[in-house]
Symmetry: C2
Subunit: 346 residues, 2 copies
């Protein structure tokens, strides 16, 4: 069969803050043949994940950017792969039937031809809304779970600070930490988000970092006895201020540094005297490293969602056309919780 597929792509590499003009909607003709042995699956995309890290894949590659080279590049003009939920249209794999729900590596487009070997699994929504399976039960959730339990190595009663706490990962870290028995404070960029953290997600406290003139003092106010664990989603000055306020043997899990994604010149310069004297560990990680925890993560999180002990924050926009603005909005803090675009009706 042949069908027209519309998808989002970048016009050129993006260095700095992404703009609407950096993106375009392209149209291609997808051909999909049955019985040729490729084991491909043609999927209609329903919900796709919108994540800040994609910006790192869009940057110009240069020899000085060694880190970026670890993320596979997004090529201008081509489709952009992303995690999502879809429905099988045609399949060369016998165990995937037309109409089956699937979750895996799809794309910012109407359709994806998922190749053999790529991430794709049949999805039983188990009574939860499909968007929950894009973020909370997907890689955002696994980042939160692996990062908090494996990198932060929490003990009950410890104090935990989470930045971008109303974001896709932060909102889950805070909830895992509360359920585990930690004291949790989050920061976010608006009063509405702060209220949400305290009133809906059970954070012990929260503050709007945009209203603080001195982040060191703010953290000292919220953590008079110091921070044991900092789950860092933002980098920059917040990381510096957190390190100043860390306790001995404190742990910093660096999940993302969104403030540094849009500005190559912006760098956190944590005080290394603090790092030495307080024996602080600063550790970067990727969700992929914790795939081995997936079954634990999924069953634990599913149970908490079912019983209402955890809440999945999803922020959904509608239509392929909204993908660029949904993505750009991440860097302005527009999203509350996991940003997802619904591409088609269920």
């Amino acid at each position: 069969m042949e069908l027209k597929n519309r998808f989002v792509s970048i016009k050129a590499s993006i260095d700095g803050t992404p703009l609407d003009s950096d993106f375009e909607i392209k149209t291609e003709t997808l051909s999909f043949s049955i019985g040729v042995g490729t084991k491909q699956v043609l999927v209609q995309n329903l919900y796709v994940s919108i994540d800040p890290y994609q910006l790192n894949r869009m940057k110009t590659r240069s020899s000085s950017q060694t880190a970026i080279s670890f993320a596979s590049a997004i090529i201008p003009g081509e489709a952009i792969d992303t995690y999502g939920v879809g429905r099988v249209v045609e399949s060369e794999k016998p165990d995937y039937q037309k109409g089956d729900l699937v979750v895996g590596l799809l794309s910012w487009g109407e359709y994806t031809v998922v190749k053999e070997g790529s991430i794709l699994n049949k999805l039983d929504p188990m009574g939860l809304p499909l968007p929950h399976h894009v973020g909370t039960l997907g890689f955002s959730g696994l980042s939160a779970y692996g990062g908090f339990f494996e990198v932060c190595k929490p003990k009950k009663g410890e104090t935990v600070f989470v930045s971008a706490a109303s974001g896709s990962v932060g909102s889950l870290v805070g909830q895992y930490a509360k359920l585990f028995g930690c004291y949790v404070v989050g920061c976010a960029g608006s009063q509405k988000k702060v209220d949400l953290l305290k009133e809906e997600l059970g954070f012990d406290d929260a503050f709007n970092y945009k209203e603080e003139t001195d982040l060191n003092s703010a953290l000292k106010r919220y953590f008079p006895d110091g921070i044991d664990i900092y789950f860092d989603n933002v980098g920059g000055e917040m990381l510096e201020a957190a390190v100043v306020n860390m306790n001995t043997f404190g742990r910093v899990a660096v999940c993302g540094v969104i403030s540094e994604y849009i500005d190559n010149g912006k760098r956190a310069a944590p005080n290394m005297l603090d790092v030495v004297y307080k024996r602080i560990t600063i550790e970067g990680f990727l969700a992929n490293d914790y795939i081995k925890l997936y079954a634990d993560f999924f069953s634990t999180t599913m149970e908490h969602l079912r019983t209402g002990k955890m809440k999945a924050l999803t922020d959904i926009s509608y239509g392929l056309e909204s993908v660029p603005s949904a993505f750009i909005g991440l860097f302005r803090g527009d999203n509350v919780g996991k940003k997802i675009v619904q591409i088609a009706d269920e």
Copy 2:
């Protein structure tokens, strides 16, 4: 008994590069009574340790310097405690006899009254020169041993980069790493030191960082396949360059940041994108944390020194008056190996 004791003290807090004029030699009268139950030991100091970290104890205390507050302050006008080797003059402790050699927390002075509860042990030199017991078999050695084996968690065949590699700790880290089966490159601040590392200490390679205009490129040249372990003694630009050149799951043990001790405004700003994508761990530590390894460390190191598999680099000045210049010289890189001042003849 009473005796005159001359000791080195600071005139006022020191912020920045230490100068001769910051120090003075003072004289006090020490009274030492026997049979009053204080369990004190009067020690004549023979060899005392000169360490860069002492500068952090000399700084002005302010609320913004949280890290510094973890190091006990050196008070202007008072004696400065330091690790060293001495000989018992009088003792209230029955197991310490006049003439016994001891090792422990002494001071930058001619005599020390060691109080009950302070670090003091009888010393059997076991055929090694006394200065070896100040540094190589003391806290410098324990820093190297604990930092390398516990913080860096090396695997055979991994690549190791050591900064300040001809210093008290670096020179030992490089040797432990070589004996363990790693590929080791060190950097130092003169051709003489570089030659020493390669010809005397068995480093696989070494370079003079002062002759490099671009530290990133230098490290790329010496580690074409990347760095697995960076043992950091200096901080600053070298830490930044090392992070750029680290391999995935690389480990940075931060033992000291001498370039930042003399300049509060100087800070390493390692690229956090590297830290995340390459899952790098940056961990500070203090030798004290590895006291539990002391017996292992001591027997292993003693054996290596006896059999000639390791060499102890000691750099000795003579006389109490030379303490300030010996200390100041650390920040110019004057020392080759462990800096020690001999206060009195053995």
